[in-house]
């Protein structure tokens, strides 16, 4: 079914991709993002050394959640002629090697403004235990015209 601004309604669900997290996937994200924070490389780094925060082993980059949510949104928006315009996220629980995470989106509301049309989406990333590891909110623009008209190069 083709997504369009007019047919969307609150409560509609966007299913995101499942993502298996491993030491290798975390390492690859280090290379791809240039974020070599030892939190993601060195199991022993945090032992006894970090005040209130100790994750007990390496954790996935929080921004990998962000990248995965973004992937879900763009794969949903582009075929509809829509543009991913904003994403806000908070991390709730660290993600570790061996976890499988999956983002989902739920349409919250639609807004028409003077020049365009917008869809607000609640996003959640859950792990294999159905725990929420990240939550956020996204905004996707459904322009009246074609994308090309508003993104000159």
């Amino acid at each position: 079914m083709t997504t369009s601004f007019d047919t969307l309604s609150a409560g509609d669900v966007i299913d995101g991709p499942k993502f298996a997290v491993s030491r290798e996937s975390i390492r690859l994200f280090c290379d791809a993002s240039l974020d070599y924070n030892p939190l993601h490389l060195d199991d022993d780094y945090m032992k006894g050394n970090f005040g209130k925060t100790n994750f007990g082993g390496i954790i996935m980059h929080g921004m990998a959640n962000f990248g995965l949510i973004s992937r879900m949104l763009t794969d949903w928006a582009y075929p509809a002629g829509a543009i991913h315009r904003r994403l806000e996220t908070r991390w709730l629980t660290p993600v570790r090697p061996g976890d499988t995470i999956q983002p989902t989106g739920v349409i919250k509301s639609k807004q028409t403004t003077a020049k365009s049309r917008w869809v607000l989406i609640d996003v959640t990333v859950r792990n294999q235990h159905d725990e929420r590891v990240a939550t956020g909110e996204a905004m996707v623009e459904f322009p009246q015209g074609k994308i090309r008209d508003i993104t000159p190069d």
Partner: protein
């Protein structure tokens, strides 16, 4: 192309190196601009980022398909700012202190970044505060292309190592 730019080839992956030179939470002045580095975004870097998050969209990866698509050529995924943030940050900057924890971010997207773009970053701490014995900084970041057009802008919170 653009593979051998010295600033990019020399990216320091050991976050402990020069760690002692970096500003602590105590030294960070909200409002003060961070020193940043221009970065040339390559198709190779985009492809590697796509691989790391499982992106397969032809708009990012298939030149012919992208050319026929709505952007008239290859673009980077919006979340490429994850890479740009570190690529534009010098090794001695406090943003790269080991143990820095990302506590949440919001980003607004204007124009897509494209392969070959020279990206610049304007960044600063906007605020700092203490909450439940943790040291927070509010980040304020804007990325531009070589024409001075805004690609995206973001606000983030990090918890600083003690």
């Amino acid at each position: 192309m653009d593979k051998a730019l010295p600033a990019q080839a020399a990216f320091e992956t050991d976050f402990w190196k020069d760690a002692s030179l970096r500003k602590l939470w105590d030294d960070i002045v909200p409002g003060e601009a961070r020193k940043t580095l221009p970065y040339t975004l390559t198709q190779e870097a985009i492809a590697l980022y796509c691989k790391a998050v499982g992106e397969t969209n032809p708009l990012y990866l298939d030149e012919a398909a992208a050319k026929a698509g709505p952007f008239g050529g290859l673009i980077a995924p919006p979340s490429i700012h994850i890479l740009l943030m570190f690529a534009c940050t010098p090794a001695d900057d406090w943003m790269r202190s080991p143990g820095t924890i990302n506590a949440g971010q919001s980003w607004s997207y204007n124009l897509p970044a494209r392969p070959g773009d020279t990206i610049t970053l304007q960044a600063r701490a906007l605020d700092k505060f203490i909450k439940r014995e943790r040291l927070f900084v509010v980040h304020d970041n804007v990325f531009f292309n070589q024409r001075g057009e805004v690609i995206c802008s973001g606000r983030g919170h990090t918890i600083r190592p003690l």
